[in-house]
Amino acid sequence: MAVSFLPSGDRGLTVQFGFDIDRGLSRQIMALRAAVDDAAIAGVIETVPTYRSLLVHYDPVEIRQAALIERLKPLLANLDGDDKGHATRWHLPICFEGDCSPDLDFVADFASLSRDEVKTVMTGTEHFVYMLGFAPGMPYMGDLPAALNIPRRSSPVQGIPKGSVLVATGLTVIYPAVNPSGWHVVGRCPVPLFDLGKADPVLLSPGDRVCFREVSLADYEAIAERVEQGDPVVEGEPI
């Protein structure tokens, strides 16, 4: 495995696997992350996987970067690319009705598909969580078919509601909180991805899979009501 060790200062080491958004690369990155977790290297604080790399946060008082690289090399040599036991599959409700999907027609037009066909793509795809970022709990998920490889808007729209499911550039995100976005809103999910009422507020982790199932507006509201009352609503299944 040809990787580059790129310093992110004296408290971070970026292990770069490539440049592109690619499931093969991501499998390797997740496998290294799991191996680093299992190795419990003294001085490693946490790791952050992204499309292209694994960032290893470390404490230079406990381990120097040169020594850390030597600890990582044997792990890299033995990656099996198997993330069993390190990821969860989630079945999340999605509503396409009413004001949940203001950009669904635009997306359908762009892709030369009908609204129903776009809905079928969203519910028929197993969305892979490449990474989280931008806001606490926000997943970047892939991969949508080429037809849905839509560019972002040139300027962002303010106040995109919490729970919005958005697509652009072949990827899908779900907004854990109200934020601006240049992506296109195709649906809304009533299950919170970041809930400060819980001891563990973030729902998703890198490597997880998300499958959407369509619900009516009435069902969406019923689920939102249960969420309001503290019902966890969904349970993940280990992969």
Binding site: G9, D10, R52, M131, F134
Partner: protein, 342 residues
């Protein structure tokens, strides 16, 4: 009545911070935490706390508080100023020394002349919820600290202790010394290869200034734009505190404690962690230059700073009586910038 500090004046930007929120950056949760972690640790040590407890981080113009009940031990660090006290026998206590105040007394941290941030710790800490093991306030995420925001007039900050302990007053014989001048040390990468030699030279040779549009997320720099050799966008990778990203404008942004966990701009270099507090302490308009160092040099600087801080904390002076305290204060005149009444 619940023991608390009542906010009489909130100051410019006062938040609860500790050493940060770690372990969930992979889930997009920023670390946050004190911009000047060394002085936060020192403030906690001065009030006999564990070093990483949540304390007040104050920016540029400090707040005024009133003690609502019982007694509370407080200490200020990170500035040469001090605590102005009303309603008691002592009118002023310099920074780097703890003092116990009673219900009804109020105290004020004025305008800071020597730093953008300073810290005030209370013995026992604040009785506020932990999120992922930290009380740090993440203002843009609206969580952590006191209701996820900067303090406002009328807030009541609940204290863990009803009364200060009977432990002695503590003093620090010298302030925490960060490297006082000279360029900010940076380690090249992880995307220094997105810039050609001319851009790397311009980055290291020019004098930048800190823009007024800077905050706890990052310091925006003003200067001559530098050009990208391979474009200004990358597929996102992870960010550390001190990452220096260069967006399309060509003007660097140094990411600080509230930075997002990942980002899509090339990062030309990363600030040596030993110099992060220097940056956190800089007010808008401050000039700064960069100097490239190796990872090993930056690590050695980090270890030296940690050793210095440990020795300061381990040699805190705890005078056994009033006379010894007075003698000590008279001997270390450099720390006294106001009248001592006791």
């Amino acid at each position: 009545m619940m023991p608390a500090l009542e906010v009489i004046e909130p100051g410019l930007m006062t938040t609860i911070q500790d050493l940060g929120r770690f372990g969930h950056q992979a889930q997009g949760v920023p670390s946050s935490g004190a911009l000047d972690a060394g002085n936060l640790r020192l403030a906690n040590a001065l009030v006999h706390n564990a070093e990483g407890l949540g304390a007040l981080e104050m920016r540029i113009l400090g707040p005024t508080f009133k003690v609502t009940a019982g007694t509370v031990r407080i200490a200020l660090t990170g500035t040469e100023g001090g605590i102005e006290i009303s309603g008691g026998p002592v009118a002023f206590v310099p920074a780097y020394r703890s003092v116990v105040l009673k219900a009804g007394q109020s105290f004020r941290i004025g305008r800071m002349s020597d730093s953008a941030v300073c810290y005030l710790a209370v013995e026992g800490g604040f009785d506020l919820p932990m999120i992922y093991g930290s009380q740090s306030t993440y203002v843009s995420g609206r969580f952590g600290g006191f209701e996820g925001r900067t303090l406002q007039r009328g807030d009541l900050l609940p204290l863990c202790l009803e009364e200060a302990s009977d432990k002695p007053v503590a003093l620090c014989s010298e302030p925490l010394l960060y490297q006082q001048s000279g360029p900010i040390r940076v380690v090249p990468g992880p995307q220094d290869d997105y810039f050609d030699e001319a851009a790397l030279r311009a980055f290291q040779s020019q004098v930048y200034h800190i823009s007024a549009e800077s905050n706890r997320m990052g310091l925006r720099l003003l200067g001559e734009p530098i050009a990208h050799a391979k474009g200004a966008d990358i597929n996102s990778d992870g960010i550390v505190t001190g990452s220096i990203q260069v967006p399309g404008s060509g003007l660097p942004i140094i990411l600080l404690a509230d930075h997002q966990t990942t980002g899509g701009y090339p990062k030309i270099a990363t600030v040596a962690s030993a110099d992060l507090a220097r940056l956190g302490r800089m007010v808008p308009g401050t000039p700064l230059q960069f100097r490239m160092v190796s990872v090993e040099e930056a690590e050695t600087a980090a270890i030296a700073l940690e050793t210095h801080l440990r020795s300061l904390i381990e040699t805190l002076v705890m005078p056994s009586d009033e006379q010894e305290l007075l003698d000590h204060l008279l001997m270390s005149k450099s720390l006294i910038s106001g009248p001592i009444v006791d």
